[in-house]
Symmetry: C2
């Protein structure tokens, strides 16, 4: 069913980081009606949720929902406080192997929740800022994973079965480098000073500058030739 009377409705997974902010900006540039979803899952960098709220507002999301999901009940990741966040890894290490900041099945869980909300809203799209190039080596950021999830969405929902909504998963950053993502966002007016990437922020206002996520962020701004608005504790 298409709805000529209303814009395409989308659930956008919004972490508060650089990638998902850019994905939201792209969705808005395509005139999507955006329903932003963030998860409070016991992440040690919970400060990213305040960033997500600011970004949802700045980028014109229709609403922003923060859902509590206590993944720290079982842990299993440096991001939920079970191990130390690695620091100062060499750039060749960043893309090789799956680091301990990987949260077990996180994107599967997040997409499943986005799917549940999409179905309730009658949304046609789920947007996710995964990225298969300058990323941390997480399995659930790969294109083949996204395609497999799309099949689950089709088979496991009322909307998919009855065929009135063909839900698609939009992952517009999938094949972009971090520098390309940043350039795209800048062109769309994203204020990256509102975003938070750090896995282990020393204070609410600072990025550590040393975790994998900070290292990729720094490198991205440098390669994009764009001034990095981030305040890092370690330069």
């Amino acid at each position: 069913m298409t709805h000529p009377e209303r814009p395409v409705r989308a659930v956008v997974l919004l972490s508060g980081g650089l990638d998902s902010a850019t994905a939201l900006a792209i969705a808005r540039s395509e005139r999507r009606e955006c329903h932003a979803l963030s998860l409070r899952y016991g992440q040690r960098h919970e400060i990213e949720l305040a960033a997500a709220s600011n970004l949802a507002r700045a980028l014109g999301a229709s609403q922003h929902l923060i859902l509590d999901l206590p993944l720290d009940r079982w842990g299993g990741s440096a991001l939920t406080g079970d191990f130390e966040v690695p620091k100062d890894r060499a750039s060749e290490e960043l893309g090789s192997g799956i680091p301990i900041t990987y949260v077990p099945a996180r994107n599967t869980v997040f997409l499943a929740l986005a799917l549940a909300w999409s179905e309730t809203l009658g949304a046609e799209e789920i947007w996710i800022g995964v990225n298969a190039l300058d990323y941390s080596g997480y399995p659930d950021c790969r294109p083949e994973f996204i395609r497999a999830f799309e099949e689950v969405a089709r088979l496991g929902t009322k909307a998919g079965v009855e065929g009135n909504v063909r839900l698609s998963i939009r992952a517009p950053l999938q094949f972009l480098t971090k520098a390309e993502i940043i350039r795209k966002g800048i062109a769309l007016g994203v204020d990256y000073s509102l975003t938070r990437s750090c896995y282990d922020p020393p204070t609410p206002d600072l990025h550590c500058g040393r975790c994998d996520s900070c290292l990729l962020r720094k490198k991205g701004f440098a390669e994009a030739g764009v001034e990095d608005p981030t305040r890092y504790a370690a330069p």
Copy 2:
């Protein structure tokens, strides 16, 4: 990786109902080390969670975890209190179409969480009591959905990518009628008086006897030729 020194480890989705109790009993009969997972998702029949705890204990689960997941934040189902639970539907209606007790993408969300926990535990299996015959017409109970999710599990986890654990989704009730499920459970010693199926229990001790789930339950015991231990408000 096989672990000759320990039993196969399984996460078992346990709602407190008849089907998942039977699935747990089958898993135990196959000597699985069972980690039972229940979700408090805003269901109006939250009483099923007490039943799940009793069943986990009675059937020898190694542990039982109840996770809070506020799906009622968006609603969209009679089970989360957004509509009335239908009563007294004719048996030919029960299998046709998707009823309003369908919770958007519920099994996708539950399997995703089971997957996250499995990966943390290093479990080899996820067990789910879905059933494609005497069921309520939910899309996310169908075999093709379960197979699609298995692919997501393989592609979206560290365990799947590194190939050290081949996670499988076990759905042993998939092709059984309700009567066959009950006979199987009785043979394995399941005390069905501990289970709760009702979508809209009038009191903690009673089943309404009129919702789709109660109707399927009654019919199952009748067809199995087994005395129904359930206390129904409406006979």
